[in-house]
Amino acid sequence: MSAHSFAGNTAIVGIGATEFSKNSGRSELRLAVEAVKAAIDDAGIQPSDVSGMVTFSSDTNPDVDIARSLGMGELTFFSRIHYGGGAACGTIQQAALAVEAGVADYVVCYRAFNERSGNRFGAGVQGRPPLANAESAHLATYMPVGLLTPASWVALAAQRYLHMTGATSEDLGTIAVLDRKHAATNPKAWFYEQPITMEEHQASRWIVEPLHLLDCCQETDGAQAIVVTSKERARDLPQRPVIIQAAAQGSGAGQDMMTSYYRDDLLGLPEMSVVARQLWETSGMGPSDMDAAILYDHFTPYVLYQLEELGFCAKGEAKDFIQGGRLEIGGELPMNMHGGQLGEAYLHGMNGIAEAVRQVRGHAVNQVESLENIVVTAGTGVPTSGLVLSTDR
């Protein structure tokens, strides 16, 4: 595979977000507009400079409404990516592709929702109408039996993983405790100053066995936006450029949406392997070159899978890899320094990309020292995406 032409030639130059809450009191569109405006301000550009917009197909906020709200004027590129949180890093890839191709100079990627006070993903899909199309029919397999929520979809794979690898609920708890430890020192995190113990993780109620409440990410109202442009333009802007060293999407063999239960085994996320292969080939780097990681953590088990698929450890060995403080700040591979989606906010992975940007800029609240490269992943259990972001050098 040849290197992606945008890789190393494009950069993230602005990030902006609303507060992360449980009840924003504002429309989702208003949240989107606030975050996009904040990201444009952070980048030091004007709304009229923006000519491209990318979001998730699950986002309810039309790009044209945001463009009108902020007086952006004409757009030459607009794109949406499917598969829920799997889209997150893919939005950055789409933006970089458009910039590198000369289709748009500045592209804003965004995600906004009232996912706590409005439509809660954790409430289940039982109310969805049984339409005669393939997307509805996919759920036909699961709705009548009561497998209705993302937690249940992940749990059905995770039970097999725990059984086969010997990983335990306490190993899952290690991820939750770590995220909450990092969130506890991040004032923007919902769980600021609220760390948890392993005992609290184990005592938290079952959501879907084998997942406890504290294995599940929170639900959040909020918005995050990110501005992408060329490396050359980035060097003239106020923020320290954050280079898109690699950006990739991946769908694996036997891929399904959250329910890939029919593959050879349930012990991997082949789609993340597809992403990882591209990230390492494109960047010319490998796991050992990463100074930190932001791994998508809607549910704790898939963090273990990702460490294996990205090559940080061998298959089935994540339970050992995560021990001994390896993922803590100061450890070998600091992870989710903002607190992740369990601790900071659930913004479909976009807040994780923003944290990676702050880490590369060097001014995160829980900053990793001498950080040069960081890997970021998007939603797991679905066709997904990933990034390697680096300092300008």
Partner: protein, 332 residues
């Protein structure tokens, strides 16, 4: 539930079902003999005075389980309150009122569920037994295997009374308070709305049917668990797709699964609780012996479920539109 009489039913709790009633015959040896013969109880102290004396009793005693027999109204008898009611129609006794209210709630069927008796001392021939009953509890509406309904417990207290016991209802009510208490019985019934499915449980979410997956649900309605089969290369596949991932052929038919397999993975759902299901809700990923996997409900004790457990499909008709495979232990 057609009407909700929760409040009126609550007022009945603690009320007496009528004045004390005195049994037609005193405790007597012929009835005891019939009873022990029918029951096959060979204990001699019920029929042989010598045997009773040997264990320190003054005479034979009645089997304790006959407690209620001494207060019964006989094969064709009726409690006097029924004849009273004929005269004063406005009076409705608490027990009748409870049954009427439960009928009005739609709980028209009845089944006895428990009977507990407590014996304070043995009863001897010649003793007259009176009984006084009170409605002790009426439950909230419960979901049961028989249907939705309410449980009611009536407590009856049994007393030994002598010939001076008054005949008029009011006199009996007063006199019972000083009579000798010899036993208690709690009799529990379920008044319920008959029906296989509890009416408060809404139907399961409907599966979306397309031309690609219709065969599966139609097959289940006909009692068959079908697996898609590529007619080009023979590969089986599930869930349904229009094409074969192994060879790309769009030609297919189906084979019927024998329904045997093992649990490949499983979950137990606790939250959120959707009204169409009962929780904790076990769901399995079953590796069928034919080679495909299927997600299905498990009719298994939650604590018994394990990866590798052998299971067998049973096809349940949930309603007119939907039948689903439910997996049970292959050992059962």
């Amino acid at each position: 539930m057609t009407q909700d009489h929760s409040h009126s039913l609550a007022e009945l709790v603690g009320q007496s079902t009528g004045p004390p009633w005195v049994g037609l015959d005193p405790v007597n040896e012929p009835m005891i003999r019939h009873w022990v013969e029918a029951m096959g109880d060979a204990n001699p102290i019920y029929v042989d005075a010598g045997a009773a004396l040997e264990v320190g009793l003054e005479s034979v005693i009645a089997p304790p389980t006959m407690l209620q027999a001494w207060s019964m109204v006989g094969l064709t008898g009726t409690l006097e309150r029924d004849s009273q009611r004929g005269q004063v129609k406005e009076i409705e006794h608490p027990n009748d009122r409870m049954m009427r209210l439960l009928d009005e709630e739609g709980f028209t069927s009845v089944v006895a569920t428990n009977c507990e008796q407590e014996y304070l001392r043995p009863l001897k021939p010649g003793e007259r037994i009176a009984v006084s009953s009170v409605i002790e509890t009426i439950s909230d509406v419960k979901k049961t295997g028989l249907g939705v309904g309410r449980f009611s417990t009536t407590r009856s207290d049994f007393y030994v009374v002598d010939d001076s016991f008054p005949e008029d209802p009011e006199g009996r009510t007063n006199a019972i308070t000083s009579a000798e208490h010899v036993g208690t019985m709690r009799f529990r019934i379920l008044k319920f709305a008959p029906g296989a499915q509890a009416p408060t449980m809404p139907p399961r979410p409907r599966p979306a049917i397309t031309q690609d997956n219709e065969y599966f649900y139609e097959g289940l309605k006909a009692g068959k668990l079908l697996i898609q089969h590529c007619t080009e290369c023979g590969t089986l596949r599930h869930p349904s797709l229009p094409g074969c991932g192994a060879c790309g052929s769009l030609e297919w038919d189906t084979v019927e699964s024998a329904g045997a397999g093992e649990i490949y993975s499983f979950v137990v759902v606790h939250y959120p609780q959707v009204p169409s299901f009962e929780y904790p809700l076990p769901i399995g990923l079953i590796a069928l012996d034919e080679g495909t996997r299927i997600v299905a409900n498990l009719d298994l004790d939650v604590d018994s479920i394990a990866i590798g457990m052998r299971v067998q499909a049973r096809i349940d008709k949930l309603d007119d539109e939907l039948s689903l495979p439910i997996f049970i232990s292959a050992a059962s």
